[in-house]
């Protein structure tokens, strides 16, 4: 039986951690979506240098472990004179890392829109950017919703990386509580529950969105 006195005694710590995890996840979600879209467009835009930049970003970032990306922000940036606190460094690392995956998802979505759409739009006088904005992206979004949802769920779970650099998130406080109480198993079960509180609604929300968009098609 789980020791529920832990969650009562350490409620403040759990809540502080939960708050930071929510905050980090939301910021990283918005940030990585923005960066991801930009990088995806870079990768398929008819401008060579942009293609190279986009490809370099994706290949470089997604082939490094997340923890090392976070270390670069936390331990590396101070050497360049930019000191980021642990929460900021962790959230930035998470954003930059997830953006690489999101860029790939979105690129695949855009490429799955038939080529004729682009050609038709361009020949009816729309510019490249207009075509992207009004013709291609709205169609691509429907296609990318399910894989994008996966990325967001991963992002919430990956936010536990903040715990390693004392980022005050759920995992960090989980570690502290467990080393104080020695009731390791129970402590982390509660940590897992808090993650589920975030990820299950996210998962259901993505499913709902998917069904709605399928209908509107």
């Amino acid at each position: 039986m789980l020791d529920f006195s832990i969650i009562v005694d350490y409620w403040d710590m759990y809540m502080q951690g939960f708050g930071h995890t929510v905050k980090a996840s939301l910021l990283a979600l918005l940030g990585s979506l923005l960066i991801g879209i930009v990088i995806a467009v870079f990768r398929i835009a008819p401008v060579r240098p942009l293609n190279w930049f986009g490809a370099a970003y994706v290949e470089f970032i997604r082939n490094i472990p997340l923890i090392l990306v976070v270390f670069v922000f936390f331990f590396g940036f101070p050497a360049l004179g930019v000191r980021l606190d642990s929460f900021t460094a962790g959230t930035l690392g998470l954003t930059v890392y997830t953006a690489a995956f999101i860029a790939e998802v979105i690129r695949a979505g855009i490429l799955s829109v038939p080529k004729g759409q682009m050609e038709a739009a361009r020949s009816s006088g729309l510019t490249y950017l207009q075509t992207m904005r009004y013709i291609i992206l709205p169609q691509a979004i429907k296609i990318v919703i399910p894989p994008l949802g996966n990325q967001f769920i991963n992002l919430v779970k990956n936010s536990s990386i903040l715990g390693v650099i004392a980022g005050l998130d759920l995992m960090y406080f989980g570690d502290l509580i467990s080393s104080e109480t020695f009731v390791t198993f129970d402590v982390y079960i509660f940590v897992a529950m808090f993650y589920l509180v975030l990820t299950v609604p996210l998962s259901l929300g993505v499913g709902f969105l998917e069904r709605r968009l399928a209908r509107s098609r």
Binding site: P78, S86, V164, E180
Partner: protein, 284 residues
């Protein structure tokens, strides 16, 4: 047919692994028994230790083999070196007139008292904290090293002790350590950040992510030695005085040891040994 071959391989590999494991265990066991044989001749607990040492012509001391700065066996040369070792050698010189008339034996925190009490070693010089509990089993000399929790700071930092750990100061340490609990108790205003281990905490300190790193000064001295841009503050805010342990009731031997420690400090030799290993002079 195919599966049979696979199973054969799996079992083969398993057996080889087990065999090599037993061989390894066997090897280490062998060296231990070798050690025990030798000790039999010295394992007479009766009588005066001081006379025994002189008779034998060498001092047998239990030291640690795995502790940086205090007693560490260099895997390349096989030599054991450290602060404790230098203290032990000085004692051999005091008693026998030659610092090389010494035999070092590896002890762990678990084995040291049994080994002392069954006569395998004459004394323990192995980062042993003097406690009331242990005083029931052995006698301790005067303090020869003041260990305790302290702070590692940048050389030019204006943090000089616990009193400077105020609100707005960030202290780094490792997760789940007693050091973390202590600093929270003693400086409740400060921000405490806990990392996976001390190496990471030190990296964070170097990256300017905190103002001080706290743990046992023995560990901090090692860090300060590795990066001379950092220093250990003089104050220790927990007390873990190290003493040399001898068998209970071994008054004559204990007196010589205390005399030796006194001479060591008065002659300035102690400061030299301290600075050699800790990288800075002992506090007064």
């Amino acid at each position: 047919m195919k599966w049979k071959n696979v199973w054969k391989k799996v079992i083969g590999i398993g057996l080889t692994a087990m065999l090599s494991a037993t061989m390894l265990v066997g090897c280490s066991g062998g060296t231990e028994t070798g050690g025990e044989d030798k000790t039999k001749e010295t394992s007479t607990t009766e009588g005066n230790t001081l006379e025994k040492i002189k008779e034998r012509g060498k001092l047998v001391v239990g030291v640690k083999y795995d502790l940086n700065l205090f007693g560490l066996k260099d895997p390349q040369t096989g030599k054991v070196e450290g602060f404790d070792i230098d203290i032990a050698k000085g004692l051999a010189k005091k008693i026998l007139g030659d610092e090389n008339k010494i035999e070092l034996k590896e002890v762990t925190s678990k084995t040291r008292i049994p080994m002392l009490n069954n006569g395998e070693i004459d004394a323990i010089i192995a980062t042993m904290t003097i406690t009331e509990e242990r005083k029931k089993e052995v006698d301790f000399s005067d303090v020869y090293f003041k260990a305790g929790q302290s702070l590692l700071v940048k050389k030019d930092s204006n943090i000089n002790g616990l009193k400077d750990i105020k609100k707005g100061v960030t202290v780094l340490t490792a997760k789940g350590s007693t050091s973390a609990q202590n600093i929270r108790e003693k400086a409740p205003e400060a921000t405490v950040l806990e990392f996976e281990n001390y190496a990471e905490a030190f990296t964070a300190l170097k990256a300017g992510q905190g103002d001080a790193l706290t743990t046992d000064n023995a560990i901090l001295f090692g860090m300060a030695k590795q990066d001379p841009n950092y220093r250990v503050v003089d104050e220790t805010f927990t007390e873990e005085p190290y003493g040399i342990a001898v068998r209970k009731g071994d008054q004559e031997f204990l007196q010589v040891i205390n005399e030796y420690l006194k001479e060591l400090k008065e002659s300035g030799e102690y400061d030299k040994i301290y600075e050699k290993w800790m990288g800075q002079k002992p506090k007064q």
